[in-house]
Amino acid sequence: MAVIRDVMPAFELFQPATIDDTMRLLGQYREDAWVMAGGLDTFDWLKDRIKRPKVVVDLSQVKELSGIREAGGGLEIGATTTLTEVVRHPIVREKYSILSTGAEAAASPQIRNQGTIGGNVSQDTRCWYYRAGWPCYRAGGNTCFADTPTAINREHAILGADRCVAVNPSDSAPALIALDAKFVVRTPKGERVVDAEDYFIGPGTDITRMNILRPGDLLTAIRLPADWAGTKFYFEKVRDRNVWDFPLMNVASAMVITDGKIERIRLALNAAAARPLRLAAVEDAVRGKEPNAATGEMAGRLAVQGARALRFNAYKIPLMRNLVKRAIGGVEKAAWA
């Protein structure tokens, strides 16, 4: 609930122009520093006085963090490239259309014009108990207010819950996992390149963070390898409204089909757990099979194994089953669509 409380509390603002200067500032202020890209997640926290960083490091002036370059047969997308730029980029549209579809499904036009791909994958969860500033596990406390007999938890997790039942809300993340993207992270010790699915961490590993970035770290770029360019893609996002809504669940798959059989596949799904899930077991199970409704049915049943509903989100289990089914078996356009 947005309560307007005028301007944000004061913070010190830095707008460095280079990655090196940014790293220096992050190294200097460590836990006190808040890295801000588009700012659309940031401002909610600051306006609501839930998080009060002393220092905000605004990446908007770091030119080298922005833009899409061809590299190594694939693409390298700077972390502060806006979602609109990603959506409109001709090579993304041509070879990695799953990413443009996923990125375009996020939020509203104005937000996509300002929100960045790095920010989209690194954004915090939407759990309102957490966002309201309650002292939950994710906020360093000792209670999960979203998993109680009286909790309102329609949007929460069915998988991977560990005390915290929040979900990751990113729409581009499953698309990036399906494309086998690599995330380039600058740390004080140097550069690390991690697989997309390893960028995200669940509450069991660290209950207060959604990704591997620690104070002083910076996501600089996302690399799309050539391996999955132009393969058969499927992306679907289910949400309450047609625009400007976070996913109830989304799914992304990339498949290479040879002689009518699935030769290679990557399948990812988000808003089911605190991290985007790569469904490796499902990938293994459908490899070598025909991408039809029967295979999809089997894949869907396999995908929801171990899923556990909370008070109000039992619908997510059949939803996940059906999304996985569609991602593999495809879907016929409904007559009314």
């Binding site: 000792n142 007999p149 560990d162 961490i201 669940g202 069991g204 590993t205 660290d206």
Partner: protein
Amino acid sequence: MGLIEWATSPWGREVPIHIAFGLLWVSAIGGLLFLVVHAIYVGYWAKSAEAHAGEAVGASSGIAARVPERVARHSFGARLFHAVMALAMFALLFTAFLPKVGVRFAWVTYHWIAGVVLTISVIYHLFHATFWLDFWSIWPDRVDIEDAARRFRRAVGQAAPAPRKFAKYPLENKLYHLAILCAGLAVIGTGVLMMSRVRTPFLARDPYLFGFSDTTWGWMYVLHGLTGIALVALIIAHVYFALRPEKLFITNSMIFGSISREKYLEHHDPERWPVGERAPEAGAAGSKSREVPA
């Protein structure tokens, strides 16, 4: 850095959340410091005093003849309990504190499972020790306290009668057991209640289950944390003593169950820990034997 971390509850109250986990280092360093100080004390300072103490009371040959070559010290049940408890305790400490020192993994499931194992083993021990073992043998008695005073006076150079030999357990052992008992029961009691806040097969997850206030829960977490880190120091000390050369025979007995006749006669008072043929009667009169002055 405060000792306790606080937060504002949904109802606007300042409530404790948990201990500041920096205290872990205080406990670990405290435990190690104790170890170093004790090792230095034993190595350079306490040797002469020990030598005197050893001569104090000699065992009669009659008693010695009664004592079997291997003196049973811990029954199989007791040793099994000790091993299970130790494994559970290490599992609990590592799952609790490794994530705090930077080794990140999904620890909660392992932690509560180890907690359940510990709880069951401790319940077993409570019954076993109360009804099958010599219940009073582990509690400090008057002789222990008198002897402790004598040792202290001798250690600081005052005149005092020679302390007697120990009963089945030395005083340090008894005090350690007492400390572990307090810390263990506190950590188990809070831990069992805290299990209602995570997913287990036993209870539907419900932070409001017992009707405790946020403050009560907060103090429960604080107590769980404090006893948890206290156990770090206690276990450092325990492992240290178990590995000290002069105590290795006790460690051995916790594994194999018995000590040798020589060690028995050297360290233990057959009056206070009777073994051999007459053991049953002496054991039955155990409470009386403690009244016997030296």
